[in-house]
Symmetry: C2
Subunit: 709 residues, 2 copies
């Protein structure tokens, strides 16, 4: 989708007015009106004239006051800043429209957020805008802060302290959270403009995003939204920002039902469906933040002018533990550890102690910290490596002067580095080294997890493979360890289970179509037919499974066809016959139960979703044996897709009690057999309550020299 | 599993020795030996005698030195503290054993972490322990810090500054990360003991955990592990801690392959399988942390003596945006917003301004901040509400004196409150209010996400339902909006699609068994039979679908049986006949494609895993229409279970190009039909490369008054 970009107003005169008028009802000290006047007169650089209209003419302030907008002397006024009780706002806006003032910022509250009367006032304002062309910003907002041009059209008492100016444009609806962003930009890349949309009666967040997208001095746009009034306009604004190459970082409240409800009651706007919102942000290239600290961190990172050039990262630290933790988080985020170029390795070898770890992650060791120049030179070398997209520098603890020196080395190396050097101050003790980094705009992260999540989000997505998580337990066991193991046939394994009193379907091994028909009739239809051959482990692939056979004729036909087909495909296989089993109806669930031998903990039990789900979902839970029934209930609760076990697709909930009993039985069975190296029961059929749980297929790997008890 | 708890040594004499001997090779200033002596002589309160052995007899320090352990005067020495070059350590340990010194702490490095020679030395130490009963702590560790009894048996230069003593026991392997934990406990609940296991040649992390579990003055145990030497002993130690009611917070490095490798190369130990480790921790009641800051935060929370009493939380703040964000994170973590008792609501109504939000989340409004006593009283009231498990107080920004007052109100209310009051300092500007909270041990979190993740982890798990995420888009559309919509039959919908050139299986509507047999023969076996009736939307449940019919006889039989069965079950339904379709073989994937009308964005396209996966996985991606083929590729990349689309269960990868073409065709088809309110194609069959993509079932909901273009 490429939305039409026209239709967004040019807000230059609003954002940087020449002449302005303040319309207020009181100037008593500490009132919102007084704060606005203070911001404009003491802390702003207004280019033109600032008029004050105070309708009741209470001359209680140091400014000359006019009784109304109509009474003002001849002047080209760009914007009216209105702080009046809600009931008086309409009159002031009508006066603006009559005089041809193009913009009004209404900071007063008491509108849509306050109830039906306020909503009626909002409708009147919207109608006035529609009929006259007046553009209204607000109401119920703290105003507009133009840090770049030092124009504080805001009631915020903190405007005077907002001195760190940069290229980030901020768009919010509420006030408090917007201040959070401004404070987060106190050092390093700062804010240029903060537009706070309030109730969005006329102008709204999409207009502000679009304005910032077209403002050549804006580099990054940070957006915090509680509600979305017009999804298509928002999409169009994001698209416009993308087409101008401006990263947009967006945090949308309302990812849970509680958030949706709270945001609605706060702003009275629709929150939108979280899933569709997130999809739309991704579609138009916006980076979604999931918490305020992440919003700020992403904006700082994106505005630093030095974002990771690839997902291949270097780690440089002076603690082996911190190195390992950083590597761990890199893997968990699906990022990669860079392979250093030979020059880098040579430089590190030449300049670090012999016992330092010079492969990535680099542990320079505590000794290397005695030379700040040396450390800085190592950092610079790594940051220049063409294989490195960014350098992560974890600082595990505050060591006073030592960490001051490390901070300085990072600052020195970062100056002029072509790749970002990202410091992570891991200690809760925010010492002077932290402040030094912060004041130099290096914006240290406070945890490895948050640092690498942010790096992942600002790294172009095409480069990112999936997370490289530690291999699940199953694959290890079926590998080399079982090399010398012996596999039982399904029929043999099931015979052992039956002997142990474990539920397996009734069935018999049949050697002719006639035997199969007779067996099927004895069992009762429908039945399943499975080829039996020690040479064939994967029956389905050779046509060796036929389910849901419903009549005697079908049974005989299936036997003949199956044997012929398997023989044609696997002429090497010796076919013992066909296993005919009673089919369990398809209202059951397919689960997996396995027991394997872990090198660390001995016998480990695994339960998970079975059948087709095993490979796809890898949704399993583990426990070290022995276990109690309560442990099995816990394991079921641990499964991510527990929904499958309950009421599902018009099926009643499954017979959990029977499953738990079966798990305990199977665990006991394997525990009594030290010769079993690995046991996998998949699928296990679990019916609705009262119908039990059955092992439909079983794989047992035993050691070649059985040591039965 | 309840492991045997015996076999863990009593370490009381090690942790709190009376007489000790330091064995070192150098006392030159700033050496590790000098630092150890300084810690013991200047910053410790040793009860007995401190001897110094310096074999080379370099009298270069202020202490009287003995040439060897054997030469020491008569004394009952509890522990030898050894800092010698690795090669000399064995001799010193032999002397310890000969003299009957029960414990030795070896801080020297140059052992297993350094290579094969060091590993050989470790084997000698282990053999000595085995044969003599000497217990060795280390090597390659910073020593043992007993903050509680002020005994600094450590080379750490920071020991002298570790003044905040509490009831938390710390177990680590490495040094740097352990210091991080100690620093994180500088305020509020402090550390009592820090045991740093190093290379674990003899004593190891399980022994230390077990000791702390049995130490009556320890309340909480914080553990950081890189490797696990003996999984069963670790499990037994955790079990022992659980049986003593001591919460264990554990961070295990090695959740990704990179972390496993880095931890191995750092410590030379096995990392263990992340999945099994996590399962084991949960099994024995340990709380797993995923980052250092979380480890510290969880330990502080668990040790505060006031953990959440339930998962029903209250939010009290002075910013509507912060209230909404906190509510959002509560929902995302699967926690709940408490319903206030009537007294609480009354108190809030009486004491807050009329426009304050007095339902949970509470927004006291900025005006209420003028009275610190009032705010404190509100907080106390909410924290006393029997329905409230904990109170979350988000502070969105630093407002100088104002936030100092808020911090004081929290401190006042927290004193004596029966439920925890958890402050979240959301601003990057860590002002004096933050410090005040920190110094009073209130341990403010730095983000809402981290606060609520921690609350979730310390809240007893039985209380936690699943995360309450915002409802997915699909359910909304099929609800009230489509109330007046008209559903097409499958046959009619497919006819429209066929007309539009979209691939649907060949098929025909048959009214008798004979027609069905003829149609099946014409199409070629296998075929699928589906009942056709405007009254039956869910065909499967009434036996109205018969798949994989393979012979003419089966076809006729299936027709008769199906019609009889459906008529028996749904006597009200008018049956038009049976739809006979060519079956597509089962090497395809089942996908879902849908287009619905979103109130915010208009037409939204959804792609996801189809068939049985729809309800279970809800694995879907959305885009606002119109889209390009590249968008469809992006959507496929967005799916969580993308593995299903590639090589899967011995199937070749699916025909992605055909799927992308089909998606575009379907999007175009629906876009050209404004009367279609909702279209769902499920399943869509996608074959291996070259076999195309087919719509197997289609549901079209149209507006009652069609407005076809």
């Amino acid at each position: 989708m490429h939305a039409s970009h026209c239709g967004f107003p040019d807000l230059s005169r609003l954002v940087r007015p020449r002449n302005a008028v303040v319309v207020l009802g009181s100037q008593r000290p500490n009132s919102e009106g007084a704060r606005l006047l203070e911001n404009l007169s003491l802390h702003s650089r207004m280019e033109g004239e600032l008029f004050v209209v105070n309708p009741p003419m209470r001359g209680d302030g140091p400014f000359r006051c006019w009784p109304s907008i109509a009474d003002l002397p001849e002047a080209d006024i760009d914007v009216a800043l209105i702080i009046l009780r809600a009931a008086y706002v309409m009159d002031a806006l009508r006066d603006c429209a009559a005089r041809g003032i193009p913009y009004a910022i209404v900071m007063s509250s008491g509108f849509g957020e306050a109830g039906p009367e306020g909503r009626a006032l909002e409708q009147q304002i919207a109608a006035l805008c529609e009929s006259t062309g007046l553009r209204v910003y607000g109401p119920n907002c703290p105003g507009l802060s133009n840090f770049r041009d030092r124009m504080g059209m805001t009631i915020s008492p903190a405007f005077k302290t907002d001195k760190n100016v940069g290229t980030i444009g901020i768009v919010t609806q509420g006030g408090g959270a917007g201040r959070n962003i401004v404070q987060g930009l106190s050092y390093g890349p700062g804010a240029a403009l903060w537009l706070s949309a309030g109730n969005e009666v006329d102008l709204g967040a999409p207009d502000f995003i679009a304005h910032l997208a077209r403002d050549p001095e804006i580099g990054v746009i940070a957006v915090l939204l509680e509600g979305i009034k017009d999804g298509k306009r928002l999409a169009a604004a994001l698209d416009l920002a993308r087409s101008h190459g401006k990263p947009v970082i967006i945090l949308k409240i309302g990812r849970s039902e509680y958030g949706v409800r709270a945001a609605q009651s706060h702003t009275g706007s629709i929150a939108g469906t979280a899933e569709v919102n997130s999809a739309m942000f991704a579609q138009f290239g916006a980076i979604e933040a999931h918490d305020m600290d992440e919003l700020v961190a992403l904006a700082r990172l994106a505005a630093s002018g030095s974002v990771p050039t690839s997902d291949e990262l270097a780690v440089v630290t002076f603690s082996g533990g911190a190195a390992a933790m950083a590597a761990d988080q890199i893997g968990l985020q699906g990022l990669r550890l860079a392979q250093f170029a030979p020059e880098t390795t040579e430089h590190l070898r030449a300049s670090l102690p012999g016992y330092a770890a010079i492969a990535n992650p680099v542990d320079v060791t505590a000794e290397a910290l005695n030379s700040i120049e040396g450390l800085s030179s190592c950092l610079r070398t790594v940051a220049q490596d063409p294989n490195v997209g960014a350098v992560i520098v974890p600082i595990p603890a505050d060591y006073g002067e030592l960490t001051d020196g490390i901070a300085q080395a990072i600052i020195d190396a970062a100056a002029g580095a072509s790749r970002p050097i990202i410091a992570v101050w891991m200690s809760r003790r925010l010492g002077s080294g932290f402040l030094r980094l912060e004041e130099h705009g290096l914006a240290p992260f406070l945890s490895l997890g948050s640092a690498l999540a942010a790096v992942r989000k600002v790294t172009p997505r095409r480069m990112l493979p999936g997370a490289m998580v530690a291999a699940p337990a199953m694959s290890a066991a079926s590998g080399e360890e079982s090399g010398a193991a012996v596999a039982c046939t399904e029929a043999a394994a099931k015979a052992m289970l039956r002997e142990a009193g474990i539920a397996v379907p009734q069935g018999s091994l049949c050697r002719s179509p006639e035997e199969t028909t007779a067996a099927a009739q004895a069992l009762g239809f429908p039945v399943a037919l499975k080829i039996v051959s020690a040479q064939i482990l994967h029956k389905t692939e050779v046509g060796g499974v036929w389910l849901d056979v419903r009549t005697p004729g079908q049974a005989a036909e299936a036997h003949t066809r199956m044997v012929n087909q398997v023989q044609a495909r696997r002429p090497d296989a010796r076919i013992d016959g066909v296993l005919v089993e009673k089919m369990l109806h398809d209202t059951g669930r397919e689960m997996l139960i396995a027991v394997r031998t872990d090198p660390m903990y001995g016998r480990v039990l695994t339960i998970g979703l079975g059948g087709i789900f095993v490979e796809l979902l890898k949704d399993v839970a583990h426990r070290v044996l022995p276990i109690q029934p309560a442990d099995v209930h816990d394991m079921l609760a641990d499964l991510r897709h527990g929904a499958y076990l309950g009421q599902f697709r018009n099926l009643p909930p499954m017979d959990t009690d029977a499953l738990v009993r079966l798990v305990i039985q199977l665990a006991d069975f394997v525990s009594g057999r030290p010769d079993i190296l690995e046991a996998e029961f998949n699928p296990v059929w679990v019916g609705p309550a009262g119908e039990g749980a059955w092992v439909l297929d079983a794989l047992l790997l035993t050691s070649p020299t059985p040591e039965r008890l």
